[in-house]
Symmetry: D2
Subunit: 360 residues, 4 copies
């Protein structure tokens, strides 16, 4: 009821941050696509903690295992089950969390909803849950490679706190993004952003920012007219990520400061294709892709766990205070970049197969 | 595949702007709720064209009919089918649209997707499709009245083009919003906004803006941890509306300019309830409502139809120009206010019943 | 939640026997298929009451209207809404039903479930609800004609009470079935069956029987390995029809009286295709079609409404008696034949598009 | 798309008979229910191979592991992931299967559908897949114990080949069924059935039969009027099991030999409850439970794998022969009894939560 995404390429994630592990079941994947553990591991390594000195120093190997759906290196068409074991937890680190709600975390909400929660870490709301999404997106890439060659998603850090990067969505490459640990596409922004994160971390504080993403070479015609509009599905996919607060596509909020004559994207034939001469629509019109670059931005709030005392309430419903502990990212954005790409790929792949179902 | 929203309170809209009519089928509605045509008509009248001199002068009566699911004034529990007939169209108004794609409309996208489109008006992408959503939300209100008394959604125009309204989400009432034709909650903003719309219209141009919405008295515990997060579902619902480009909840994009210590919402007991002492979370944490006001904003781009010549492309894939005709809203926001409320109510109602299914 | 069938070719029916009307919304239909009211009306006429002197003498015109999804005679790809108005009811005929539960009808069950029921006729459990299914199947035929030419479903009355027809599933044609009002394929059985129905009706009693159906030229590879097996979906579709009590495919119950060596279908190449030399599997193995004829049988219980006094219970929960009134079929099978075909076509069409989604 | 069952209590199975393992993800389970590995293991042991000398001598330990969704012995409300590792396979046993299609298995159908198959054993069509279903049903039992105490499913072998058991559905207990290795409820039938199975096995042949099942104390009001009728859902669930060919509820096919006056179940008040004085309806009317025992029967064809030479076709599409090898059940019915119960429990549990969602 809660943990399933997609209509045809359908993924179902499971797992808490503490417990046996986390994983995903991918249903509806086309058969005969090459798929290996290494394909998936490469993507998981990009989101792993401990990959640089601005991410959490927690070391998690996150080695994945393909349990089903692949035979002799090819997808079978049956459900692909992928699992990553949790490593030994130190539950004593979390004793205080059993008794107190962390501010701006979901602790109280889980209790209000379920009357129970796994207080060893974030449980289901932990960023560890996104392992399953990234693994599923590795499979989605294989589908796209076969059915929509050239279709790719590239995301980057657009801003951290008050520092912005200057990046051209039409030319930025994943290699450029990966060339720096902050995963921005603007060389001039790298050092200031790193310094900012280190400074904030040293203060026991945290920051957020904006990730921008472009989907290139998306075939025109993906998405549907109502409810499951392609941009609506992207919005949901992005807001389903931990710590996100906003989504905009194309001109976004700034588009409200343009008139219709300024905002409308004129059309012209180019190289035999119907094209827009600019792209304030962000590649989607009426919920359906038009073949231009799909460009969107996602806001991530500052990490909720801070190393300072805050007012809160206990599970017994008494006022108290709580000071964050443990090893957390002072800024999640560098690690969130591959996750944003993953969600974009999952949405596109599902709609590609939906389009094939209805329209051939 | 494309036109269904919700898991338990499930709505399915149908209809193009030109053809027999538009409507909605509501499946999963609880039984024994009072429901009349008048209940629905009242809500439909708020979104109807021609209701004031800043909306399109088109007169559409939009009289609804309940075809099933209600017996002796009470819901039966079976599907509720509601229909509004289309009135006589003047297809000659649309001849040019058969041959040319309107810039920043979905015309080309429909052709790319389906290889066919109903060029008499916007077809499925017409704002007329939202009639079914508003009618369904009238039914949702009945569910909320029975199961979550006091839960309500109030939306208002937050900005139009460069004019902003100053409104307090915690106190604004629907009566205040309805007291002016622009549907903003700030008396000082009413006249300037009306003047702006009239001026823009006189220029054959158009403007967009931002609608803000608050959901009050939402029970804590609605939403789910992954994918179908309450804010993710709201984001999708809003981005599924025509002309929307962005969604933000709570602090939104501006929240990225705060540090974690500033952004986190401290918790305190108040009147025996767990409360936040401020609400940058916007009433949802980890995808689940926490009982605070749910506050979000939606950006609407300027109306795509403008009365001026624009570059475009023909269905035969040749460069051409097109000048908008007909009677269109130069600014859709006043009429979009009840539609934003409708989508909010539909999401909350579905999650209320989902919560009852799983957690009692 | 309750009234939706299919994953890609998804139909949603609505309507009670008394009220505004009945109808269906078809979502996910491929675009650019020719579709007219006449196509649908032809199929609806086969299930209509009053078509012969062994069916109920009720006259219902059941004229359908296509409200959306079709433009200039072609499907648009958007939801197709089809409606049939109910004709004037005589609610006085039903007063007694408001106060007493009809034995072996769903009256009590509806009250137990919903705490309310439309006692004017069968409400949602009326056979009138199947109008929407038959109309949707008319659309499904168009999909099959385009994507799986030659694929067809032919059903016939296999038995009524203790009278059996001798019919060869591999050669029977719809024309042969339609040539007699009892809709059996065995000329020798026609008169005895008609006489039996008339005799039973004259006694105020009723009978049931078995309908057999063959699906020919179904492409191999439709269906899925688990849960949504093609035969499982057919079983559900058939048991979702009013008055059905049993389903069997291929050898069915009788297959339990064979040994494995007898039951297994040997395989041989024939005309370059993989074939079975006999067909106890009934055209489906492991939930997936193998290209042979899909043959199944459905049992219909005798009509629950009889013109004789029966023990029952009142809505006020007191023992009482009830004598059936009105104009009902003493045997529903002749009219159920096109409905069985309709359900078969809906299942096949959905799986055809599902197969295209996943496997191309 | 293919491997998900249920709307609220939703299960998703994964895994082939050879590969990493098999498992299930259960989504939508109510929180705070006690659940342990032992609960599940007890049920898995009933379906395990090698449990008696009339089942396959293959020894599979089938030890399950709960990977998520349970904390300190209670369900969390989040997805419950359960896995059973596959044990070392002997792929050399299956070499011939790589090249030849086994008659009346799904080998050819998988190739026709996917263009690939895991020929090491039955892949996804293996009975091993049902491990996930049985594990999920263990969880379903916890839901029923909490929300519908006394609701239980008991199944037994009704017939094997031409030997029938005489069992009273209203009084049979699971203890009686479990007291004999053939899992029939008729002491007089036990020895003849065992002898038959041994004789057939010694001949390298196989037999099928009928399993009957009763669901007791199902609350009235479960199920829905259309499509997802409770009996339709049970039919689908049963036909989704390997080797099933038929389903009937209540009077079933034999009910067609009764007249309406004979078949109708008279109603009478008893102990303050609305009751039927007999139960040809089988506990469901109009798709909704009426509170009487739900009684149904399922036909299983003889095991397709026989130890004798049969005509078949190779993957290269040439005529050939194949002789079965390995250790297979000559009769699957004793092991299928707990699986039939499991499917019944899954359907009832999902509809119990669906009813709670819509009707409270």
């Amino acid at each position: 009821m809660s943990s399933i995404l997609g209509q045809v390429f359908r993924i179902s994630t499971w797992g808490e941050s503490h417990g046996g592990g986390v994983g995903v079941v991918i249903d509806g994947c086309p058969p005969r696509l090459p798929l290996s553990v290494d394909d998936i591991q490469t993507d998981l390594d990009r989101r792993r903690p401990g990959q640089s000195d601005i991410t959490t120093p927690r070391k998690e190997q996150d080695r994945c295992e393909i349990l089903s759906g692949v035979f002799q290196g090819l997808t079978l068409g049956s459900p692909i089950s992928i699992m990553v074991r949790n490593e030994d937890a130190r539950p004593e680190s979390y004793t205080e969390m059993a008794e107190k709600y962390r501010p701006s975390h979901a602790d109280y909400c889980y209790d209000a909803k379920y009357g129970i929660r796994n207080w060893q870490g974030g449980g289901r709301s932990s960023a560890r849950e996104t392992i399953g999404r990234v693994a599923a997106a590795s499979v989605a890439k294989k589908v796209l490679a076969a059915l929509a060659p050239g279709c790719e998603a590239v995301a980057w850090v657009k801003s951290i706190y008050n520092l912005s990067a200057n990046v051209d969505p039409s030319t930025i490459t994943q290699a450029q993004v990966e060339s720096n640990i902050v995963r921005t596409g603007d060389p001039a922004a790298v050092e200031p952003m790193i310094e900012l994160i280190k400074k904030i971390r040293s203060e026991g504080n945290s920051v957020g920012g904006v990730i921008e993403c472009v989907i290139r070479n998306c075939p025109p015609g993906l998405g549907v007219p109502v409810f499951d509009k392609l941009d609506a599905e992207l919005a949901k996919a992005m807001l389903s990520l931990p710590a996100t607060k906003a989504f905009e596509i194309g001109s976004g909020f700034a588009g409200t400061l343009l008139t219709g004559l300024e905002h409308n994207d004129p059309m012209r034939m180019k190289d035999g294709r119907v094209r827009s001469t600019k792209n304030d629509s962000g590649g989607i019109q009426g919920g359906i892709s038009n073949g231009e670059d799909i460009v969107f931005r996602v806001a991530f709030k500052p990490t909720a766990t801070v190393m300072r005392e805050q007012d809160t309430v206990s599970s017994a419903h008494e006022d108290t205070t709580l000071t964050g502990r443990g090893r957390h990212d002072a800024c999640v954005l560098p690690r969130a970049v591959p996750i944003v790409e993953a969600m974009a790929l999952l949405v596109i792949t599902d709609h590609l197969l939906r389009q094939r179902a209805q329209c051939g």
